[in-house]
């Protein structure tokens, strides 16, 4: 029945394509709102830090980017598991659509970390457990993209990439707990569920920026997944109809 609400209906690219398209502007708008609020709080309202002065403000990019780099990987691994177990078409497309954003976040995390490390620690880079495991995460993203791009058959590419994603998921707890398990130059985590060791406005600025990054990631992943859908399903009727609509609209 078409009218009854069914979650599985959205697992079909033909129904998810217009839904994603309709949601993109909202996620983009929410991201901008959170971003402006977060930057205002972080750059203008939050106090200077007692140790690091104004330099600590790179935290408002660094921590949200690091969080998202780990979270996006977990989401990709989730889609990989669903795809391998249930053989769904959309799962692999979602994983592929998320990968470049995840890689971007991991790169941002490492880059802002280097910029932050030089003035505060005295080094751009050290081979401590936190920094090294985050670098491995960036390599996992790049490896996943390279692997799926190297296999012509999209469904086989999804399966191979999915296996890589699932094997690599052990790295995520290693990144997160590295500062607890080993002696690292990177300090422990400031944000914990029960007690955070940050001034309140700093924390709120960071959380708002994290929301901004999150919404941004969803918006661009949806844009990308729509392109992947059209490309992969180009021989199906719904894509032909979609494209026919578009060309008809352009000719008007």
């Amino acid at each position: 029945m078409k009218d009854r609400f069914n979650l599985y209906r959205f697992a079909s690219p033909a129904t998810f394509y217009p839904l994603a398209g309709a949601m993109i502007p909202y996620f983009a708008a929410i991201s901008v709102v959170f971003g402006l609020a977060g930057l205002y709080l972080g750059m203008l309202v939050a106090p200077t830090d007692f140790q690091q002065g104004e330099g600590y403000r790179i935290i408002f990019i660094h921590v949200p980017a690091s969080w998202m780099s780990m979270f996006i990987y977990l989401v990709m691994a989730f889609w990989a598991a669903i795809g391998l177990a249930f053989n769904t078409r959309l799962s692999g497309m979602m994983a592929q659509a998320l990968a470049p954003t995840g890689a971007l976040m991991a790169f941002l995390s490492l880059w802002t970390g280097a910029l932050w490390g030089k003035p505060m620690w005295g080094a751009w880079w050290v081979w401590d457990a936190r920094l090294t495991s985050e670098l491995i995460l960036l390599f996992l993203y790049i490896g996943y993209m390279a692997l799926t791009a190297a296999i012509d058959d999209a469904r086989r590419a999804d399966k191979a990439g999915g296996l890589l994603l699932l094997v690599g998921v052990v790295n995520i707890p290693i990144i997160y707990f590295s500062v607890k398990w080993w002696n690292t130059l990177h300090q422990g985590s400031s944000v914990n569920l029960n007690k955070s060791s940050m001034a309140e406005t700093m924390l709120w600025g960071m959380l708002l920026m994290a929301m901004c990054f999150w919404m941004y990631s969803i918006a661009v992943a949806f844009m990308r997944v729509r392109t992947i859908m059209l490309e992969r399903e180009r021989h199906t009727d719904w894509v032909k109809a979609e494209l026919a609509d578009k060309t008809a609209g352009d000719e008007k």
Binding site: F50, W121, W182
Partner: protein, 160 residues
């Protein structure tokens, strides 16, 4: 059991196996992953002989000595149990301070001191405005003074 449930169980099992393997490998490599060792480790003979390694700990309060040239310095790294004197010639990071964390890379000398070729500052995970930090410091020194007899001069620690 449906085949997709079998597959899901297989994926879960594979993840558990990979996790256990990773845990065992990391556990075996434990001493290689640690960025630095503490002065207590050095005293226990865990430091590599004649090789470059890193020690980490706190810069002991009042131990920092600067030579007249401004770049030759000596300080004591402590983990509150054991101390090691570090000699270093070079520029210190901005956050290098007495009572704060430090990681130094270099070699042990025969006399038991440490000659560093790189000194890095390790800061903690606290972020707060200077006023809040001062309030915490003041409260701590008040608490400390309560336990010190007045004759010992209970001079409050300078905090800035």
């Amino acid at each position: 059991m449906k085949s997709r449930h079998k597959k899901l169980a297989l994926i879960g099992g594979a993840l558990a196996v990979i996790g256990i393997i990773a845990a065992l490998v990391l556990n075996a490599l434990n001493s290689n992953i640690a960025l630095y060792i503490s002065p207590t480790d050095v005293a226990a003979g865990k430091a590599p002989q004649g090789k470059v390694f890193r020690i980490g700990g706190m810069v002991k309060e009042g131990s920092l000595q600067r030579q007249a040239d401004g770049v030759t310095i000596a300080f004591v790294v402590t983990d509150t149990e054991k101390d090691i004197t570090v000699n270093y010639k070079g520029i210190l990071p901005d956050l290098f301070k007495e009572g704060k964390g430090v990681v130094a890379q270099g070699k042990m000398t025969p006399t038991g001191t440490f000659t560093a070729n790189e000194v890095l500052a390790k800061h903690d995970e606290n972020y707060m405005p200077p006023e809040a930090a001062k309030a915490v410091d003041d409260a701590q020194s008040r608490a400390a003074n309560k336990h010190v007899s007045p004759s010992s001069g209970g001079q409050p620690k300078a905090s800035y």
